[in-house]
Symmetry: D2
Subunit: 333 residues, 4 copies
């Protein structure tokens, strides 16, 4: 049984506590939050778990094996570093860190101390994303043409990050998981309408091969949209995460090119076949992720969503900010 | 009664003929197409209208007042120029011309000869777009924050233009009509997967004020989407052109900022009120456009969608191609 | 080449003319309508087809092989009977006749004179319905449990028939085609809100076996719905005729019963698998129907949608009216 | 502070406990369930609440003011009666009782002992239903024409009740709340496909006035539908409870009849105006219901959803079963 100390009991912290507490392999031992009101909520929901307003209590407790850092991104580095220095495995909310340099330092420290890092890329544990992974890995889609994601809604304005750092980590981490090829450059445009933080942004990601990816993130949309299109040579898919059922649809549609030379539009023919919505496993992704982390620790394995995965996403985010400041210039990764 | 000569009887030409023939003010006098198969279709549908395979017949006919140029964009300039030189008003399919220089030359020529140019920006005559125009002009939306358009489907590959030149003229001309403020710069990224023409592209348009616009055009989408979001300070709207009813929805949703200084997220509050789908007039846009052109000629008025409007759209398209070739660099308009 | 005379050029007649004229095997020879305004429309659309206001001209023309009766149901019997007596094959709009007795008399007359009757059950020639037929015939759905149809919208009030006679012939003829088992009884409830004709009605159809069918027809619905659910032992399907694509969805969902005796709810288990939307052929159903009728005449074959099929639907409609008048009492067919 | 004893901790019981525990006016004092596994769940979720497997402990506890009966309907009468005899107010899961006679006896007993009965018609406390109530009460819809409800999905087969008793109490209680006019007769048809309990049923409800109501309930639908249409003389509404936002849409659509005499279809004209989706309050209905019950007890007021409301719904259900057994014969209420 691994003991977990959770720092941060705001919006997401309660889910972390509930899930690490619901599985056999782990148990939440201590909850920390600077806000006494948050701690009162924690105590009411979990009368038997101790609480503290002092994060050092978590870091230094000899009973704790894993520290979960579920706080604003600006605090991740310090908390995670101290936890690692005290010999704790760390589970860090996404985005992993506020800078690439911080991520690299944490990775190095963990490797030196032989500790595990997991970054909470929850979505890659959902049934829909795992099914997409399988479809892409099995080459059902064929060579990939584009990855097009929309994540917009009337969103909570953040104090310290723009809409890209708030919403895009979901989609960057999903794409990072689904697609083996690594992006080579990124560009971002956006606008801050209400304060100095961008609330509307568009991101294009360039690859060395045939792929292009695009992300639309917006805190000022009157409707909530969570849609990803992935186009491939053989098949194309639409993932609508807001559908209760039929989240994932695979289309046997596309274009057949007979001969890339010659008179062009005589040789392109359309293909339009069946659509298929595979059954997608309905599990709580966070529970599966918690179990997976415990297994990785016990068996000495490296999580897919380790510090390196976290770093790749932070690198993309950092480059977005660089591009935003320079009129959407393409920034090489 | 104004006589119309129509050059080009491919996909769109039949609609032009039908509509100029259905109104009181105009009558189609001659149809021209280089393809005899197309002319056969024309003769079957309109046994009483003369046809020709020689466009010079149209240009030079003394009976013709208006020449409608409904041919591929690469031919617009020559045909339109000759028509103007022969004293004909011209109705030109969008995009107006293949280059900015061509558009400028046609505008100058028409002004010198006191002839009218109308560019077929059909969408601005639809009930939905005119309702949006009224909502924006009446300041119902308040200051505009963003204009976000998606026009994707499994599309017909064009021989001579990329997906931007094929699909974006619709949306550029709609935005040009809806929004008084003129864009100052544009950037575009895209990818050509099947031949040398981009089939997937993303365009960002920058304004001097608070606005940002974005356009997603794609010939390789398994699903057809025609959706535009316009976000404003007071209200936001969603236009889904594929809805049979309820094409336009206006949301009383947004963010209220009490004080832009001070501790930020304590002062931003959400506003979520009713949604309202106004009845949108159901008329054939092209018929209204044809009547409007006849009126402009008869009354000596300048159409909204005149050569200058056509030029503004061509300028945007040309700049997109420039940006595409230079890694999505922002191009000033 | 078979010559067709069309009586009735109101809402549906133009489609009949267009389709019988578009195929190789038939040609429209004469169009009749009592309303001169309708004939003017016919002449404008088809300058080369003769017109008349006198239906006797159609019946008695020696050049005509097929008489298409596209008039209000109250006139079907007299026109069809005279056409048969004059040796013409008849194509009759649905519902076939106003009474069962009329239908029986026409069938008998046609058989005596060796002429063909086709009742215009257009829907059974659509791609979606033919695909459903195949799925049911191939036992993909397994034993059928229910057939549940909704056909509602803000509808045109008819002078002479209620909403059941207006809308249910579509669905009755589709079910009649799809399901081999014949219904044994029918009951209907409804309400007339604006005049003496029911505008809202609910119909239940009973079978000897495990099936039940239900039809919801309404002229006073604010939204247009065209949805049919068919539940089977092995699979279930939803047909939404208003979807542009994905009209038909087949669900691998159901209930498995291990042992019908014993403690019940321990032995029922749910089955929830993939959904599949087969590509449905997109053809004009009426064109296929016209070709099929010409083939049946030429080859001496009996159409599926012959007088007997028409009679079965009229029998259901007549029984609905009987049930309506008697508080929804079940009427045996 | 009123103390609540809850009997039954199956599917719905946990929600009852959570809500009576979350408000100021009440506190759950004792939870009873015959199944020790259910009690273990209760203890884990609420370590400070006592539990028992003996319902008599709840009934007889001097500390308990309200007994909540959240058990299968066949047990409601005995438990509720004993609770009333012991001086407890009762909160009873819907449907109130298994027979009309039982409901009448409980009402009489409660009145004699001056105790309150509330039947858990939860839906009437939702934002959508309360908004509809207001629209109807304010005569926004005008005279009502029809009430058409669909509640279908792949449902849990019940041991002791058919699909009508399982699903229709929701809709019957909603209609009972929304519409002042009382139904005069009811008829029901259905089919039992898997065991002796009907799993598919259609119910028609007749009124003395212009109204008709219809309910479609089905445990064997591959798709989940929760849609109610209410048609009125002035406006019509659609309530889709599965929509996250825009649950309620009001249509300014209908038919205007100029003169009910005369040539009919010349005088009926269609009206098609805006659609409007009012903001609907998002609260937990059960919490509001619990607070309302506490208020009724403290202030000596009679709940809207009292025993008489429960009785009206049981009367409809009982009549449905009578009609089912007699071929859908209309049964007077």
């Amino acid at each position: 049984m691994l003991n977990v100390g959770v720092i941060g009991y705001g919006y997401w912290g309660p889910n972390i506590v509930r899930n690490f507490n619901s599985i056999e392999a782990t148990r939440v031992h201590l909850i920390c939050d600077g806000n006494q009101h948050a701690l009162n909520r924690a105590q009411k929901a979990h009368p038997h778990i101790n609480t503290t307003t002092t994060w050092q209590d978590v870091i230094s407790s000899p009973d704790i094996d894993i520290v979960a850092v579920i706080t604003p991104v600006s605090t991740h580095f310090e908390l995670a570093k101290k936890a690692l220095e005290n010999g704790k495995h760390i589970f860090v909310e996404k985005p992993f860190t506020a800078t690439v340099a911080q991520a690299e330092e944490l990775i190095e420290l963990a490797e030196k101390k032989n500790l595990k890092i997991m970054v909470d890329h929850t979505f890659i544990f959902t049934g829909a994303v795992r099914k997409m992974k399988q479809l892409i890995a099995d080459a059902i889609l064929g060579d990939l043409y584009y990855y097009d994601s929309v994540r917009v809604n009337l969103g909570l304005f953040q104090k310290d990050v723009n809409v890209i750092w708030d919403l895009a980590p979901h989609d960057f981490s999903i794409m990072d998981y689904l697609i083996e090829e690594r992006p080579v450059a990124i560009s971002a445009s956006g606008k801050a309408h209400l304060n100095e933080m961008e609330d509307t942004a568009y991101i294009t990601v360039h690859f060395a091969n045939n792929m292009i990816a695009h992300f639309n993130v917006n805190w000022l949309s009157p409707v909530k949209l969570r849609t990803t299109l992935v186009g491939g040579e053989k098949k194309m898919l639409v993932w609508n995460d807001l559908e209760a059922d039929e989240k994932l649809k695979i289309y046997d549609k596309g274009v057949d090119v007979k001969n890339k030379e010659g008179v062009y539009n005589l040789l392109v023919s359309y293909r339009s076949g069946d659509m298929w919505a595979p059954k997608v496993q309905q599990i709580e992704a966070l529970k599966m992720e918690a179990e997976y982390f415990a297994n990785c620790i016990v068996n000495g394995e490296t999580p897919i969503n380790d510090g390196h995965a976290g770093l790749r996403i932070v690198k993309m985010l950092e480059s977005c900010n660089e591009s935003l400041k320079d009129s959407g210039r393409m920034v090489y990764l």
